[in-house]
């Protein structure tokens, strides 16, 4: 751990995360105050002040969302940089698996970003109404989110402190590859059926948004998300790397591959998140945020187009498939 902690990227990452954790703690106490003090029917000074405190809470949430998004990208980049220090690691995949916290950290980060997004949409709905109809509900969600971010702060620390540079880790091909001949795909799919299913779900996704079928969107989006993960790692990825056995979600974020992984995973994450938020808010509050729908449509279209273009370019260049 000693020398590793002095890596510039890690110092900056950790100290920025310390700041976000402090803000999450502030957010937590503010939310508690709001939850227990809020009474829309009172016209007391305290109530008027709480209304202003709610603005601080939403400003903090906005800050956390943006900073956390930037830091997420930065974390992955840092992990890639760290891979040279750790025996066996060829990319971030190895570093993530250096201890049991890594994968949890990445997962919880994604979930808290999603929840922050959801919260910001709910908040803007609530503020647009004249009587704060979902105030308490949104504050409960905010408490939950701030706890999540606090947990994340602890994970950040535990993860980085417990990276042991001397212990060799597995590289991505052992983590994701199918060396033992086992089928890594879910539902016992083979590659061809995986890809057919992927495109069918893509069409279903876009159609459900276009015809405003919220329930369909809610069902299709999680499936599409899962299938997209496997399709990118086990099919499209091999065309990005141009190596049939290279299955890794992380290597594509390296410079050699023009950092395309960031765009792929970014569009997938935000596209599916927007779709789910759009559909659930429309169902629950009867309020349509068309911007979210449009963004979801466009981002997922970019995601699929980018994936397909790697596949097609390879075919055009080489005349064969991998």
């Amino acid at each position: 751990m000693g020398d590793l902690l002095l890596n510039s990227y890690e110092i900056v990452y950790l100290s920025s995360e310390v700041i976000t954790t402090i803000f999450a703690a502030i957010l937590f106490t503010l939310s508690l105050k709001l939850l227990f003090g809020w009474d829309i029917n009172r016209s007391t000074k305290e109530q008027y002040y709480l209304e202003k405190v709610a603005y601080l809470a939403s400003t903090l949430a906005l800050f956390l969302f943006w900073v956390k998004t930037i830091l997420y990208i930065y974390l992955v980049y840092t992990l890639d940089e760290l891979s040279i220090y750790i025996a066996g690691a060829m990319c971030a995949a190895g570093v993530v698996s250096a201890n049991s916290y890594g994968l949890w950290l990445l997962g919880i980060k994604a979930i808290s970003l999603f929840l922050l997004l959801l919260w910001m949409v709910l908040n803007s709905y609530d503020l647009e109404q004249k009587n704060y109809p979902i105030f308490k509900k949104k504050i409960v969600l905010l408490i939950f989110i701030s706890l999540f971010i606090l947990l994340e702060g602890w994970l950040n620390y535990s993860y980085i402190v417990n990276i042991d540079t001397s212990l060799p880790v597995s590289c991505c091909s052992t983590l994701f590859g199918n060396l033992e001949g086992e089928n890594p795909l879910p539902f016992n799919l083979n590659t061809i059926s995986l890809i057919i299913l992927f495109f069918l779900l893509f069409i279903a996704f876009e159609l459900s948004l276009l015809i405003d079928s919220k329930l369909t969107t809610l069902v299709v989006t999680p499936l599409f998300l899962v299938l997209s993960y496997y399709s990118v790692v086990y099919f499209f990825g091999t065309y990005i790397y141009e190596v049939p056995t290279h299955n890794c979600p992380f290597c594509m974020m390296q410079k050699e591959y023009n950092y395309v992984g960031y765009i792929l995973w970014g569009t997938l994450f935000f596209g599916t998140s927007f779709a789910i938020i759009w559909a659930s808010v429309a169902l629950w509050l009867k309020q349509e945020y068309r911007v979210l729908k449009k963004l979801a449509l466009i981002l997922i279209a970019i995601f699929v187009a980018l994936n397909s273009s790697y596949f097609m370019l390879y075919y055009i260049k080489n005349g064969v498939l991998l």
């Binding site: 890596n7 510039s8 900056v12 603005y55 800050f63 980049y77 040279i84 220090y85």
Partner: protein
């Protein structure tokens, strides 16, 4: 965008309140300039070291006695060549020649007729007229060496005092081009035989062996085999060196970074004060905006965008300025701190080496501290009661 009235106002408030922003702008510019200059220097050094490392042999075999590397016998060569997977073995001759306690040259002896283990050297050797070079006792010298010799009135030759107590006079044949960066600053290149004499090696001794093992998957096996075959042999791989250098310079950069985090913390205090003790003019301005219909949200948005603009302006100015400072003016003052008093490495030129990861690192520290310090004061300004201020 030009038709956005909010941005129009943002620009307006920037231009009409130059005084309000210029102080912060100047302070943050200088802090960022220092931070990015040091990080540029460290990454430039790391970059050129890494580049020269690409030409390094895959394996280096050293003979270790009492924990220190020792000369190796040429007889190892045959045995090494027999190991399956090793395709080339090269006995290398090099070492430090000390003029006094502080100043030393790196003396490298090379075989001018075979391919060099280092591609920089290869390119160099190809450029010189071998017949002429080998006809006399000649050497190639790095820029720092040349400078040192010149200043001590050795215009075209130098008398090396060998460990045996004899003088060996070598003519300066040519100065090495500066392009090879840090590594070639203090070297003296000559033939293997002459180098052995200068360094005090006997004719059947070498400094170490460089091995070429093209197949990466065989490397681990070969390392184990060598270590069991030769008593006292240490195997250093290219990756080992890479790691060592990276962590050495990361360490230096890291120490500086921690210092700067402290400076930035101080800076954030200034910022915090600046926003908490907002001028009465600014308070009145915001109260006025609130009175004519701006919501708390609008004011927070205005102030946040104001800050972001400031961040972007000072950041890009500082990055450009430090690029010029480091790569065009070679960072006067700072270089001495960074490279230590090592006089021979002082006339190196930093190679422009743009590390986007580094630039984003600087940006992230700056952005996060800046926003974090101003967030709550901004909110306080935005919620202040317009009636109270406007009375």
């Amino acid at each position: 965008m030009l038709n956005n009235s909010f941005l129009h106002f943002l620009a307006l408030s920037f231009f009409t309140n130059k005084k309000r922003f210029s102080g912060i702008l100047v302070v943050s510019f200088f802090i960022l300039l220092l931070l990015s200059s040091t990080l540029f220097i460290s990454s430039s050094i790391k970059g050129s070291l890494k580049k020269s490392l690409n030409y390094q042999p895959d394996f280096i075999i050293q003979n270790i006695k009492a924990g220190e590397s020792f000369v190796a016998s040429s007889r190892w060569r045959e045995k090494l060549l027999k190991i399956h997977g090793v395709i080339a073995v090269n006995g290398r001759v090099y070492g430090r020649f000390f003029l006094d306690k502080k100043i030393s040259f790196l003396v490298i002896g090379i075989d001018f007729f075979s391919k060099q283990t280092n591609e920089n050297l290869d390119a160099l050797v190809n450029k010189i007229d071998l017949k002429e070079f080998l006809s006399k006792e000649n050497m190639l010298v790095g820029a720092s060496v040349k400078k040192y010799l010149n200043s001590h009135y050795y215009k075209d030759s130098y008398n090396f005092l060998t460990p045996k107590g004899e003088f060996l006079k070598l003519n300066i044949y040519k100065e090495l081009p500066n392009s090879s960066g840090l590594v070639s600053q203090d070297v003296v290149i000559t033939t293997k035989d002459l180098a052995k004499k200068i360094l005090g090696l006997s004719s059947n001794e070498v400094s170490d062996f460089a091995l070429s093992v093209p197949n990466p998957s065989e490397r681990e096996n070969i390392r184990v085999k060598i270590e069991s075959l030769f008593f006292g042999a240490r195997v250093v791989t290219k990756e080992d060196i890479n790691k060592k250098i990276a962590s050495l310079y990361d360490y230096k950069g890291g120490v500086f970074l921690i210092l700067y985090l402290i400076v930035i913390f101080a800076f954030s205090l200034i910022l915090y004060l600046r926003y908490t003790i907002a001028t009465s003019i600014e308070r009145k301005e915001i109260a006025t905006l609130r009175a004519v219909g701006w919501s708390i949200k609008d004011v927070i948005k205005l102030k946040l965008l104001e800050n972001l603009t400031l961040i972007f302006i000072s950041f890009s100015l500082a990055i450009i300025a430090s690029y010029i400072f480091v790569f065009i003016f070679d960072a006067p003052i700072l270089r001495a701190i960074f490279l230590g008093g090592d006089s021979l490495s002082l006339n190196l030129k930093f190679k422009p080496y743009i590390d986007y990861g580094l630039i984003s690192t600087i940006f992230i520290i700056y952005l996060v501290t800046y926003l974090a310090t101003t967030l709550i004061p901004i909110w306080r300004i935005a919620i202040s009661d317009p009636k109270e201020v406007l009375r």
